[in-house]
């Protein structure tokens, strides 16, 4: 009587086993066949491929240096080095830059790269770009071609940050005949060119066979996008990808503790996780209160609890890869007694503060620790997570309707934008700092370093914010994969020297 049921179960089981077995065999054969292909897992997928009209870190991360090249780029130590320009001269008044260009470069549309493309690309930032970053090009008075391999750029005033900014997306060089469909068809001079893009899934690059420099070792690179951190980790565990570009949850790294299979690379970024203060509004317009908060926070404990100890304590808004870095972690050592004393001095008892954070993992984790540490000195913190980006941008960033917030300021050299502009959401207004920034930008290299150092110190002493930690760059890769960018110092994830593991 029950036989048909038993048979059905048996058939189902057999089919399942057969399918699973098939999965097993084809999976392993697929892995060994593709030696010159590598896939890298990312979390944020570009909305489109046009960073001239769409903001967001994902587009330059994928395209800059890999597909588009600039005249200059940043090396792993954060130094400006030649790329499409072999060298450059700076006039004595520091306003004229003469770039000597490589002359064996072609775009992937077959057109030769000349000074005309440089002039075209620089001018196009001013005329056609839509994103706010384009303002970095405002300082350029004129860009001109001297001959095919020489381009001359004149600035309205001396600016060190301009050359630096030329390493970012605004310095990307476009072909004069290659800007018709930037959102879908990027044309650059880089080591890779776009093969295909399956929205919601992956971007595939193939090596540019006419590349002027060292040809990439990997013929095909797949940038795979994952919405979910667990899915990203699983993909590496199951061989779906070869590299996790940035680990989203540092405590998950223990899954990759098998050193015969994986290696974990920890480097630095330019992302300062900042406990930002609303400097213009009571009670945080009072320096004593801000200082009390800095004393109240045990940064080492915070980093250990919130981010599994991965990352670095900085004590200022400057990452170690900037030339004006100075270890200021001892400026405000953890000292709850001192914090209470300062609060009493400021006449504050039963202080209540609104901590309005973006709903991002590091901010949520850090906020809990901040709350409990501030409670220890008698400050009540009310944590309010806001959806990121839209809600946070609107409430905290635009309206500055907050007391404290926590956000990872990832932009390189963003100290000037954040503390040099009194209208920025921290509302920090210090003319002395603004003047130092301006002088540093127009001075010689030495003057720049000295000026920036001084400004960073004043900001830290002023307790304009509290610098929780420097965000780590955590990469996990299949054992033996080489050429991964250890430090994340620029906007791009440089794939050019990648080489797959031999295994």
């Amino acid at each position: 009587m029950t036989r048909p049921f038993v048979r059905l179960v048996a058939v189902t089981a057999t089919v399942t086993l057969a399918i699973t077995a098939a999965g097993c065999s084809s999976e392993s054969s697929g892995g060994s066949a593709s030696t010159s292909s590598l896939s890298v897992g990312f979390v944020a997928e570009p909305a489109n491929l046009d960073f001239t009209s769409t903001d967001g870190a994902a587009i330059p991360q994928a395209l800059l240096v890999n597909v588009y090249e600039g005249l200059v780029k940043l090396d792993q130590d954060g130094k400006v080095v030649p790329l499409l320009a072999e060298s450059w001269d700076i006039s004595p008044d520091r306003k004229t830059y003469t770039f000597h260009l490589r002359d064996n470069v072609t775009f992937t549309n077959g057109k030769k790269f000349t000074a005309d493309d440089v002039v075209f690309s620089i001018n196009r930032v001013k005329t056609d770009w839509k994103v706010s970053l384009k303002s970095a090009m405002d300082v350029v008075a004129n860009a001109a071609k001297k001959d095919d391999t020489t381009a001359v750029v004149t600035l309205t005033k001396p600016s060190n940050s301009w050359l630096y900014k030329m390493t970012t997306r605004i310095g990307a060089i476009f072909s004069r005949d290659g800007v018709a469909d930037l959102a879908n068809k990027p044309i650059g001079t880089g080591p890779y060119k776009l093969d295909s893009w399956r929205r919601g899934d992956a971007i595939t690059y193939s090596a540019n066979e006419n590349y002027w420099g060292t040809k990439p070792k990997v013929g095909k690179v797949v940038l795979k996008y994952f919405k979910d951190a667990t899915a990203l980790n699983n993909a590496l565990l199951t061989g779906g990808i070869d590299v996790i570009s940035t680990v989203q949850a540092p405590e998950s790294i223990q899954q990759f503790s098998d050193t015969s299979k994986y290696e974990v690379i920890e480097g630095t970024t330019t992302g300062e996780v900042l406990l930002s203060f609303n400097n213009s509004k009571a009670p945080l317009d009072n320096k004593l209160v801000r200082q009390a908060i800095r004393y109240a926070i045990d940064h080492k404990a915070l980093l250990d609890t919130a981010w599994a100890g991965r990352g670095q304590l900085i004590g200022s808004m400057v990452p170690p890869t900037d030339p004006w870095y100075e270890d200021l972690t001892n400026l405000y050592p953890h000292d709850p007694a001192k914090a209470k004393e300062l609060l009493a001095q400021a006449g504050q008892s039963n202080l209540k503060l609104r901590l309005r954070i973006p709903n991002l993992p590091y901010a949520v984790a850090s906020a809990q620790v901040v709350k409990s540490q501030l409670a220890a000195v008698g400050i009540t913190v009310d944590i309010e997570p806001l959806e990121f980006p839209a809600r946070w941008l609107d409430v905290v960033f635009k309206q500055a309707d907050y007391d404290m917030s926590i956000i990872n300021h990832v932009e390189p050299r963003d100290i000037t934008a954040i503390f040099g502009n009194k209208n920025y959401y921290l509302r920090y207004n210090n003319p002395k700092v603004q003047e130092l920034f301006a002088k540093a930008d127009s001075g010689t290299e030495d003057e720049q370093v000295a000026g920036m150092k001084e400004a960073a110190r004043i900001i830290s002493e002023d307790a304009a914010g509290d610098f929780l930690f420097l965000f780590p760059n955590l990469i996990v890769a299949k054992k033996g994969t080489t050429g991964l960018p250890k430090n994340l110092v620029s906007e791009s994830f440089d794939l050019s020297v990648l080489s797959p593991s031999e295994a």
Partner: protein
Amino acid sequence: MGLYLLVRAAVLVVSTAVASVVVFAVMAVLPGDPAEVALGVNATAEAVAAKRAEFGTDRPLVTQFLDWVAGLSTGDFGVSYVTSDRIGPQIVDRLGVTLWLVLFGMLMAIIVAVPLGTAAAVRHRSIGGLLLSGISQVGVAVPAFLAGILLVFLFAVTWQALPSGGYTPIREDPTAWFQQLLLPSLSLGLVQGAVLSRYVRSAVLDVMREDYIRTARAKGLGLYRALWKHGARNAAIPVVTVLGLQLATLLIGAVVVERVFTLPGLGSLLLDGVANRDLLLVQGTVMVLVVAVLGINFLVDVLYALLDPRLRGVR
């Protein structure tokens, strides 16, 4: 029959119209300006104003709504704020993934539920039957995404038997396509199967007590054969109803499961759209989902009428 269908169709049309108003209104009150999100944190006021004009979000809400509905009625979903691509083709493209997922999930649910539910009904007095009931009870309580996480852990991470996610279109590599869909549809199907099996069980139990089954058995038919020949059609009516309702939950469950398995379906399109404040895209996607759910309900009503002749006479 004709009147019955007419009334059902009218309900479908009115619900769709109401849904369009609700969907639009919800998006309109969602905080966050698409123009600001698109241009980034340091955009100037002029740039934002220009972007708003480009998007058309500076116009009165009523105008925007009427424009949107007029577009929808001709199948035009508009242009995405973020990608500047036409939204219709994007939805169609992603729907391809989601439909397969839902279809496979449904099939698995049926494969699980019909034998399990029938066996549980037939042996409802034995330990085995109670055990089957218990298992389905647990299955009902598990959300699909949790089942997905567990399945990934077992099949993908521990046994390395199936991929943990990703999607390859069927025309590129049918084997990879099938393998990649297997775990996500299983996580949808197992949970739905557990729910469904309880309905199958009670439907079969009801039918078993009917006189015509007793008659058939008295004539010498085995229980399963009698159920199949005489009871299946009757037991199918409540099951089909539930199946229709479940199809709707499956569609919604798929939205979440797609995230666990990184499938580029409608769900991931929707979530990305919300994060980027790509309002037109979100509105379009939600409308497609709403219409799909309403359409399914309509079909269930039709099927209901076909299966049960008594209903046709009612109206």
